[in-house]
Symmetry: D3
């Protein structure tokens, strides 16, 4: 099994609903360092898992949709508790949609899966893994 | 599959038994940077894998039991070669006991597994993965 | 010259005023990984620059004052553009006040200076250095 | 499941064939930070996954074969597009050969698998995982 | 004193002249993780050291001039031993020229100095510091 | 001003004397990630600050003298509280002696200074800077 991972980041404001979150129930924010891993059983004819340039651009496009925003005000996220875990899934699902729509090229449809990891600090991170 | 990871550390003295360990047979020590990963198929009603605050406190409690000690003198570890691999298992097993005892809340019993990674330096680390 | 550095973090929301900030003029947020360096020409009688435990607690107290908040709503910061550079100075100045008030012990008044570095992502950080 | 990982690096020149690589079709180079993970279900009698000293020496020997070279001129790599993914596999396969030849000791034949990760920068890395 | 640092990278091939370099006299290559620090005594009216967006673009432009190339073939570097130290100076001097030419805005001429650090691996790096 | 830095590590046991150290008064241990920085105003004829290979070997030799030991039992350290700060100075002073004795070559006597940083964990480190 082969993987390729690219790293990028986004900066957002949000608040979390639920007593379990303590002071994080207040409006605050986070930098998420975002690692996106593409998994594939065999390399393609160029010897790669995915066109890393297009992969990075697509990840960037998803993070631009979310970044420099107050996620509490985003209509698409209404009703979602935007925990680090939940955001990892949102990034992964949006990326899967783009891959399946051909944005990373026809070959990328042979990818086996994705893992998205969001680092919220140097001492805490969360990930979501899904098939493609 | 979702994961959440928290990082902490402990500082211990110990010696290792066996020719394979060379100079590490002498009494020496280590800082272990400890990454604890909680795995779970679906998020709970709050949108999380685990209450990260309680998780961090529980990991801290386990590391306080071991840290700032000479592990060669700990009765509970008598007969154990306290390699990085073995210590990763000890931390994971002690954490599993606490999770199953309800220390992280009733919901944490739905966790699927744990991974504990101990970094002994910037160039070497070991991990132990177990179901819950 | 000796230094000791401790690392901690805070998570805040804010917006920045000025065209130069582009999309960061919108309400967003950041995790700041905060490195605080204490400088001193000679070690004290215990062989240290500063009591690292008390230093870490004091840094923590300052970050709790700022963290899990929308800095745009903080009365004490009204009129301040809370850039990473400006926040580094705020943390350093608040820390200097506490050191001079004796919170780190009498010996800490012999510190020569402080450096506070705030990492806003894996690719950007800012620092402020001042004498004591 | 237990793992042990050791980190080393190599510095090489190469060029990549295929339009997908853009400017990387020109002769350029890379530092690869190389993480080699050894997987094993149970620890051996010494309480370890593998003799970490011998493991590090063997990884070093493989990286010396490749490092400080222009990979475009290496007869053994003729016909191979030396992408980060492909190099991860070459390192893993050469290591597997050495393990199976007994270079890490008789016990190392009980290893379950290897993962080799090559970091080409702070924002991109690739890995190859194989059984033993 | 305030500083702001941005991180980027470049990948190059080169060889080094002189017995002291051992195997690095052969054609090989490197990824350089490049940290550029801007120093300034006081913040400007926006509360910043430098427009970080323009700073990052300018650093990027300099690294594009050098990256994905065999430095042994660059006419501008003929006669220069392209050690990590020497490359740090080249990046710093080219950046200083652009700052003085107004590429980072008129205010950037009030910068006091630059530090450029090139990380050639996880265990070795070099820097060059100069006034502006 | 130019600098070159090399990174290595050592693993030791020790205890600290003084109430300020709390639980660290017990016998425990540490991994120190050791960064050694060499400073020099101008590069030598080879375009370097120091022969990085010899520098790394010399640092290694000093760390071998200290590593895999209980520092409480070392005659040369009797009477020294082996805090991270104090150990940074010991490494720097031993290195300065070797540089002045010509171990890094005649040219290394033109070095202006050294900085030794010991990282005791991911959240705490200390350094000592001295002229040569």
């Amino acid at each position: 099994m082969f993987t390729v991972t690219v790293r990028d980041h986004m900066m957002i404001a949000h608040s979390l609903r639920g007593e379990v979150f303590g002071p994080a129930q207040r409006l605050h924010g986070a930098t998420y360092i975002v690692d996106v891993t593409f998994r594939r059983a065999e390399l393609d004819a160029d010897g790669i898992v995915v066109d890393i340039g297009r992969a990075a651009e697509t990840v960037r496009a998803i993070l631009v949709e979310l970044g420099y925003r107050n996620l509490d005000d985003e209509a698409e996220l209404a009703g979602t508790n935007t925990t680090t875990e939940a955001l990892a899934r949102i990034v992964a699902d949006r990326l899967a949609d783009r891959v399946l729509a051909g944005e990373l090229g026809a070959g990328a449809r042979e990818l086996d899966g994705l893992v998205v990891t969001l680092h919220e600090s140097h001492v805490a991170w969360a990930s979501y893994e899904r098939p493609l």
